[in-house]
Symmetry: C2
Subunit: 350 residues, 2 copies
């Protein structure tokens, strides 16, 4: 009997929340072998799979910056993987790559997707999982959003929502590096403490605090110059009400709105005119030609200790993927959330 590989496929598009046992389906398929490879293809095994809020958008059947995941297709996800066999010049057997492997233990990828990247040398204090976090698309999302759109100046006030999340925590630290006064929001007192004590933010606020609105106002006496938003909804509205003239609103995500069938638009939208706000959305993939320079900068900041990070690594392999994805939208993770499929130093966790 051939060895089996577990993978998670999209079974049904969720209307609102992901439904355990219904949205996704765990299946076993025969492990592909070297003999199955065509020119330009690589056979890889997943080590760590990334969980990102953006994945919710890929489940919606609507044209977007990436095509929607189809019913019956393996759920798309970024991952760190090891090459088992290769008919591609991109990477050789044994190499570690980052790639859109998807929710699969073993998979054949094609180099032409442009998404298979051989791991670059890590800084002295770097870890392989950083390739999904600070030194992956997550870190670069924070980097390009903050430096290309937010452009904080020394002494300006920057607010980052979901600041204890993977992207937010890097974005907030980049704003600190740029000399801004940085306020972060998060959903638990523990995250707030972490932001204040370990990430060095000037102010951290729990958005579930009954006095949040009052505290938010008090924390922004000079109004907001840069708003780096991962949340949307009420926090976006509050920020519009506290926006400074010529402020920049970096629209990175809107996790409060992803699972709702009736999204709430920002009621204070007209402040965009009176305060001359620039509200701009972006997708990290648009900056692909600048990835090299961004990674070099992020590696340097990581090596210098100017950027710190935390990871929430869920063990249990693909069986834990569905639960981990649901917990992402419930805000249980601090820093980068990922599933460990196979520890590269040890045994398979399956």
């Amino acid at each position: 009997m051939s060895r089996q590989s577990v993978q998670m496929e999209l079974a049904e598009r969720p209307e609102t929340n992901i439904i355990p046992g219904q949205t996704f389906r765990l299946v076993s398929v025969p492990v592909p072998t070297e003999a199955d490879l065509q020119d330009g293809q690589l056979l890889v095994e997943s080590l760590y799979i990334s969980l990102d809020p953006a994945m919710r958008g890929w489940l919606v059947d609507r044209p977007s910056y990436l095509p929607p995941v189809q019913i019956g297709e393996v759920m798309r996800a970024g991952a760190i993987a090891r090459v088992l066999a290769s008919k591609s010049s991109v990477a050789a057997p044994g190499d570690i790559v980052s790639a859109l492997v998807g929710f699969a233990e073993v998979r054949i990828l094609h180099e032409s997707a442009g998404t298979v990247q051989k791991a670059f040398p890590l800084p002295p204090n770097g870890k392989v999982t950083d390739l999904l976090g600070v030194l992956g698309l997550t870190g670069m999302t924070a980097y390009f959003g903050m430096t290309k759109i937010g452009e904080p100046n020394k002494g300006e006030t920057v607010v980052v929502t979901a600041a204890a999340g993977a992207t937010g925590s890097v974005a907030a630290q980049i704003a600190k590096i740029k000399g801004a006064r940085v306020i972060g929001t998060a959903g638990t007192d523990e995250k707030v403490r972490w932001l204040r004590e370990e990430m060095g933010l000037d102010v951290a606020l729990n958005y579930k605090d009954p006095d949040f609105q009052k505290k938010f106002k008090e924390a922004t006496p000079d109004l907001i110059d840069v708003f780096f938003d991962n949340v949307g909804g009420e926090q976006l509205d509050m920020a519009l009400a506290r926006a400074n003239k010529f402020s920049r609103f970096v629209i990175c995500g809107g996790i409060s709105q992803y699972n709702t069938a009736e999204p709430q638009g920002p009621k204070n939208f007209l402040n965009v005119i009176t305060q001359r706000i620039k509200v701009q959305g972006f997708i990290v993939l648009d900056y692909a030609t600048e990835f090299g320079a961004a990674l070099q900068q992020l590696s340097q900041w990581l090596a210098e200790g100017k950027i710190r990070r935390k990871e929430t690594i869920v063990k249990g392999g693909l069986k834990a993927a569905e639960g981990a994805m649901i917990s992402l939208f419930e805000g249980h993770n601090t820093g980068k959330l990922m599933i460990e499929v196979k520890n590269p130093e040890g045994e398979s966790k399956l």
Copy 2:
């Protein structure tokens, strides 16, 4: 007995719509004379007073780009006026000026407000009322919004809302001059006909048409590259749903939301991310240092017949001001709406 000057003061802040006989109060005051002037002041009589959607915002008791009009204060408004007496070097008796005279027949202004501008030589086909329209803040609002934020390229699709209004009609024509395909929306079939037949727009649509949404979609097969918005609300939401990648949304106004106590935020806001939209608000006064160059360009386009305009001039002086202001929000005007207080060529209309 001294001569009297009529003026309209703010009596009560409206919660939603302006209420006839309640929001404003018409009063008579003794006409000031030359003897009342201090150094730097000018005594002026209004000829034409401008009515603009932005005036609604000045009635709200909230800090903004201009201070709110106070209860008992003459309502702020732009005007074309004639200088009766002057202790300022800005203009001499007999000169025509454009200034924030307000809703008043005769008034003393101070030059230091920086808002008293001596009329510049008009192009051959120019009229004095153009100083409130194409060659005034209205035309420049269209100019800066379209050229500095919208930046339409040849062949791109531009949508202008309230395209038969004062600002919209100029904005739409500038987009045509830049070689774009231009779609305008308006609220009557007559305006739509005017936009198509006289303004030369590629498509004009009545937003009150039951099939508007369908027609809007059909009119934007290549999606929208520049959205120049004066309206907000549903039209903004429809545009977000049809936004092209890297489109520019010029937020000039939101007249659909000015009179409501419960503003509607754009439900499709998250498209800002997926389509990487830049949404930017602006105030024409921010471009003051570039007014000269803008007026030169607009004068040239007017002289060349590349920009045409229409005016809706309400006779009856200040007694007609309240009704005219209400009609502005009901969308009765095509092109620039103004009150004639005194025809410079003839007798006073009071």
